[in-house]
Symmetry: C2
Subunit: 143 residues, 2 copies
């Protein structure tokens, strides 16, 4: 078991999704998706996501207490649903703290979270609605 | 003036650089560079950097007071030194708060920082020691 050296998403937790979306659009960036309470921007092989801060804390199953939770997560996406638990276990053996075991998500995916030694949050996710290219890049649709 | 839709670095501020490097190496990731107090991992078109948390706060010219500073920054690298100030000004007009104006860095580059509406830190940087490909990816050396 090894994991590829790549990043799929950087998610910024935000207080006001409309305000943040407006800001990043004012930079000249075009969202690829904005559905419900999440906005995705296709970057170079990865995705910048804006997500309400309290929803991000809830998704990662950590308290949004202003101390440990930083309002940011990094994601590593996998190509098969069964890989989520395998990657989390691999990371646990390397010293990661599992903060949320692999499980089905409300949006139809499967994911879990670990924390690095400083508490930086990493999500390991399987998302059936996007493509991972052979070289590990994420490609969103335009819809 | 527009900025490309891409991310060059994600930098995680860490309490113990050796411990963090060991953790990410245990995941199976190989550093491309580790010089002085920074460790770089080449990811898919971007770089994961580990940097002492207090150094990151100092670099961004923000107080490491445990409240506003999250210990994370995202970087947008530019191809020419003069673009740093131009991109920062573009972002300021879009509503960014400039937290550090464009200036020369100790390591021979040129950079500044802005904060998004939630205080997420973005560095705009010119780094003469790395390559930005035509499609906006960052390529580190192996040394």
């Amino acid at each position: 078991m090894s994991i590829e050296q790549r990043i799929s998403f950087i998610t910024l937790g935000v207080a006001d999704l409309a305000r943040s979306r407006e800001f990043y659009e004012a930079l000249g960036w075009k969202p690829a998706h904005a559905q419900g309470d999440i906005v995705f921007f296709q970057m170079n092989g990865l995705v910048l996501a804006l997500f309400p801060r309290e929803e991000l804390a809830k998704d990662a199953a950590v308290p949004d207490d202003g101390s440990s939770f930083r309002g940011v997560s990094v994601s590593y996406n996998v190509r098969g649903i069964e890989e989520v638990a395998q990657v989390l276990e691999h990371c646990r053996k390397a010293g990661a703290k599992i903060v949320k075991p692999a499980q089905d998500t409300e949006w139809g995916g499967h994911s879990g979270y670990f924390a690095d030694p400083d508490g930086h949050l990493w999500e390991v996710a399987w998302n059936p609605f996007l493509t991972i290219t052979e070289d590990g890049n994420i490609v969103l649709g335009n819809g």
